[in-house]
Amino acid sequence: MPDSENAEALNPSWRTEAAYFNGREAKAYRVEVAMAREGLELRGEVSGFHPKESLRLLDRQAGGRFRLALREPEGAVLEFDDAQAWRRLRDLRLLGGGWSGAWSDSSASLGTRRGLFVLVSAMVLFGFWFYGFGLDWSANTVTRMLPRSLDAKIGETAALDSVMNPSKLTEAALAALAHSARVLQGLDDLGPDSIHILVWADTDNINAYAFPGGRIAVTTGMLRHLTDQDMWFALIAHEGGHLKYRHGMRQIVRASLLYACTSLLVGDVSGLGAALAENGGMLVRLHFSRKDEMEADDFALRKMRDSGRGTAGLGRLFKMLLKEEKDFPKWAAFFSTHPATAERLNRLDSKEPAVRMKPFLSAQEWNALKKF
């Protein structure tokens, strides 16, 4: 504050005009208000002194319009329209104790305001907890309660637009996919009755996705970049992990819960049904969480070791992905479904002894797969 204004604030002869309402009549009484450190002095149609503890700010607007509530008489209000008066009021700290913000209730005591503050803070904390932790917990619980048979139904609605028509696939390619699916099925109880591996006609993206209910889709771009059968095994075993732990289903439940909560909060429940109905389409845009990916990786590693082929295939898969991620940023789509490849690569034990590769498809089948 410049000195001159400060001096003005202290000038005892300074006065401003205000309208005084007594709360019983609509009549506006004209008063002159003098402000001092101790409070306000009114003169004119109404007079009296109001100590600063008895003043409360009701509201304030641009241009120096503000209103003060007086304690005595009850319901009395002073209405100002003077920017200088506002500055002086502030400089003299006349609202020091009485400042309660423009929005608070005239009868709210400090105690209830503190109570509200605690309540609101608690709700905020709960909101964060729910988003960070409670949501996943609820999604897990709800998913566990849902029958496995629902997975296939949901998975069916998934928009698999660009999946290649089986009629366009060669006999050998179909045999390779069916054979791979059988091998995967034999590894563990993955939940679904039958597993189908489908091919997405998409050479630009290197991606794979496990839909609830047992459908695994792989892009032609991915198939082209596989250099050996161990990589292929690693890939399908990883997707098998997603099926085993019902990650896809959990993501849908999680997204639906989040959607339901926000809809309720924002007050728009109408969109909820529609969103739930089309969650098949939503699926493709969903991605598994970091935790889900690690879980699926661990599943793949276990199965690779169990089948005696070592874990190098998964390492090569990650390295290939890392290289392609770097070279072709347009494959950003992959990051959305499989984040942090480098981190996942680092988790692999590089000291694990190398084991000989173990092809499980015939040469003819493998070549057919690679030809996509």
């Binding site: 009549e25 609509a26 209103r67 929005w103 905020v124 909560c261 309720l264 909060l265 924002v266 728009d268």
Partner: protein, 352 residues
Amino acid sequence: MSESSGFMPTAPDQPPAGYSPAVPGEAPAGEAPGGETPGRGTFRGTGGELLVTFLKNHLLTFLTLGIYFAWARARLYHYFYDNTEFAGHRFRFTGNGKEIFMGMLRALGILLGLGIALSVITVLGSLTHNKVISILTFLPIPVAFFFLVPVSIFGAMRYRFTRARYREISFALDGSVWEFAKEAAPKMLLSMITLGIAGPLFTHWRIGKIYNNLRYGNLRFHWDAPRYDYWLLALKGFFLTVLTLGVYHFFWYPKMFAFVRDHLRLEENRFRGSLLPGEYFRLMATNFLLVLCTLGVGTPWVMVRTVKFFIERLELENPSKLEAAVQNAGQAGSAGGEMLAQAMDLGVGLGF
């Protein structure tokens, strides 16, 4: 977060202050009654402030899982009431978040209780495997609806008026909510049966019922618009608007506004003002462009200029007479109806 229905006062749920009959102001001292300049109003708020209020409200409501909704609503009412000025003095909203929150709980309780009761009745009815009984058990649902709607309308109006102060004198809405609902239900039914043809009669009754029970302190409002004139005007407006593909709306709306306004008075002092089709069209066209070009971000500005537009077109003759208003015994009025109306997504306003 989406800018969805419940939250923002959308068109019909406009800022209450704007549509509440603006109240008298003070006259230049010493002028003789009768020869006075009419009292005029304006709106002091800005779109920027409103945008900030919206953002804060949405954020806090989201973070508190909806609990803050009540306080957000209070904040919004503060914004609209406190910025409405008439004849040199501003209105003031005296409600608060806590009471709106209690109203919210009450409304939820009523809806939940009613929902459960009605479902139990229909389920019990279907268990009898008797077609007639099963169908009869559905009957309470529309009946409840026909009562709940007017109860919420009246409750919401009463809440807003009792929390509005001008020159530190409160408004009040007399009459009983049940009586209002009892009279409203058959009229709503009639307008439904006639496929809306009788609808304006219900609106006419509703506006009259509210205004004729409205007080500013001890001063009474009166609304004496002839029923069939109102009905004809409304129907003509509707059909010509449809026939002219909407063009007639811009001629009709100012007429309707003037019709409602010109039949309103506060004690013996009439409301007046002018609203020309051209300026109304300009307002609507620019509002539309503003929302469109800013992809919705301009909505707060649109609301502010719309409120300002209407408030500035409402004048009251002999504003000095209103200095005589004296505070009557306060009216409690809870926010239950307000929140019930909110929950049912009713646009409550004194529109027409």
